[in-house]
């Protein structure tokens, strides 16, 4: 009998200066994390438009994580502060609409934190996997 193990699809937006470099460091140190995580490079976490996140969900992503420099360490001084506000509001809104809150996350990962990057992705992928497929955003307008 074939068991089709459910694999979540996770989109990770990583800022070029800290988190993308942190992901590279995880690679340099050969720190494993699930292959379900696919990284998209952005110059700064503040480049991430809520539309990108919703788009990812709509196209079948099960989780979206945004990684940026630690607050105070943004390469552009303040970009991640805006990310923090925008995402706090957006995630709170998604929660308000009844979307599972574990599907979205913001994590601050510096260029030196390869281990944190790998651990974060592992943890996030596990949490998202435990939720199963993302149906709610898909179904929000389709009452069955």
């Amino acid at each position: 009998m074939q068991v089709n193990e459910y694999k979540p699809l996770i989109v990770a937006f990583c800022c070029n200066w800290c988190s993308y470099a942190g992901a590279d460091l995880a690679g340099n140190n050969r720190l494993n994390y699930p292959a379900d995580v696919k990284i998209i490079r952005v110059p700064c976490s503040c480049r991430v438009n809520p539309m990108f996140i919703l788009r990812a969900f709509q196209r079948g992503a099960d989780g979206v994580i945004i990684c940026g420099c630690h607050p105070g360490d943004c390469h552009y001084t303040s970009g991640n502060y805006y990310t923090r506000r925008r995402m706090a509001l957006l995630f709170s809104m998604l929660d308000y609409l009844g979307i599972e809150r574990e599907r979205t996350r913001v994590e601050w990962v510096s260029a030196a934190e390869g281990a944190k990057f790998a651990a974060t992705m592992k943890d996030f992928a596990e949490k998202v996997a435990s939720l199963g497929e993302n149906k709610r955003l898909e179904d929000l307008r389709c009452k069955k």
Partner: protein, 330 residues
């Protein structure tokens, strides 16, 4: 019944037209029925006499019309602003959407506008609506005369009015009120206290009725973009016909996010929705979160203020805490 009489407004408008202060008047114009009032431009005393309306169905917020109207010519436009309209007026000024010099703003007090759909629920074929001593009487073709408590006919935005105070005007007719301590977040809180499943079911029920007529967007004083992303083929989220269901689902979230920190909570979106979706509950969620996370902020309270979404402090709440806080509410 409104505190101030139609004649006062008409006379003031005539006076300003005749002394050349303004060359046109943006006001409420008579439609087919008593309750059918639309925004209109009046250029003469005659037009005012015949078409100008002031009463319980003059809910329309004219701020947004100023964007287009002021661009039409050099002369000044007279505009009537109810207290809640003045917030939108200021917000649009903050965003440089029209030239303040081209506007003469008359503040008018407001006792709350009626929601005709509440009368229509129990009365068909309304011919006329009149009011006396807090009672509203509708004369109908099929159900005869029907009488209602005025308070019961107020939409949520009026029963939970956030302010009777005008924050912008050149001249004030009648008396000014105060910023009120309204229970406008009660509904939001009720939703927050539900389980995630209940919230999902609630919003699925509401949003599935949306027919994407765009009325909410078209009336919204914060939606004044030269070109809306939903109309822009290059935006990636454009849609006319729902070939792809994405835009349909995301339209309201994105719209609410786009107006977050700019929405004055005027309630026009819910007023015009033909499907009666409580869209203001989306906007109010953002307003409530902004107030709680970053300190109280009222868009449009003053010109030039910096909205919390385009601001920050170094010790802001983390997104994970923002949703956890929701948990405590539940």
């Amino acid at each position: 019944m409104q505190e101030i009489k139609r004649e006062v407004l008409v006379n003031k408008a005539k006076e300003l037209l005749s002394d050349g202060t303004v060359d046109r008047v943006l006001g409420w114009k008579r439609g087919e029925f008593d309750y059918d009032v639309t925004p209109g431009v009046f250029r003469s005393a005659e037009e005012l006499d015949s078409g100008f309306v002031w009463g319980d169905f003059c809910g329309a917020n004219f701020s947004k019309y100023l964007v287009k109207e002021t661009a039409k010519g050099e002369g000044r436009v007279l505009v009537f602003l109810k207290p809640c309209d003045t917030y939108s007026f200021n917000q649009l000024l903050t965003e440089h959407r029209f030239d303040r010099e081209k506007v003469y703003a008359l503040g008018v007090p407001c006792n709350g506008m009626l929601d005709i759909s509440r009368i229509k629920e129990s009365a068909e074929g309304i011919v006329s609506v009149c009011e006396e001593d807090g009672k509203v009487t509708a004369d109908t073709l099929y159900d005869g005369k029907k009488t209602f408590d005025r308070d019961a006919l107020l939409p949520d935005r009026c029963s939970n009015c956030k302010s009777k105070k005008h924050v912008a005007y050149d001249e004030l007719l009648g008396s000014d009120g105060e910023v009120l301590d309204s229970g406008r977040f009660d509904e939001v809180e009720k939703l927050e206290k539900m389980t995630a499943d209940e919230r999902f079911a609630f919003w699925q029920g509401e949003l599935s009725r949306c027919i994407r007529c765009n009325a909410c967007r078209d009336v919204c004083p914060a939606c004044t973009c030269e070109k809306c992303v939903f109309d822009n083929p290059d935006s990636g989220v454009e849609n006319k016909a729902a070939a792809d269901s994405f835009e349909e689902k995301m339209f309201h979230i994105i719209r609410a996010f786009h107006v977050a920190g700019r929405c004055t909570d005027c309630g026009e979106c819910s007023r015009v929705c033909p499907q009666h979706i409580p869209l203001h509950l989306l906007n109010r969620k953002f307003i409530k979160d902004i107030d709680e996370f970053y300190g109280e902020y009222q868009a449009g309270a003053e010109v030039g203020s910096r909205a919390p979404v385009v601001n920050y402090t170094t010790d802001d709440i983390e997104p994970s805490q923002a949703v956890e806080r929701g948990e405590q509410n539940a």
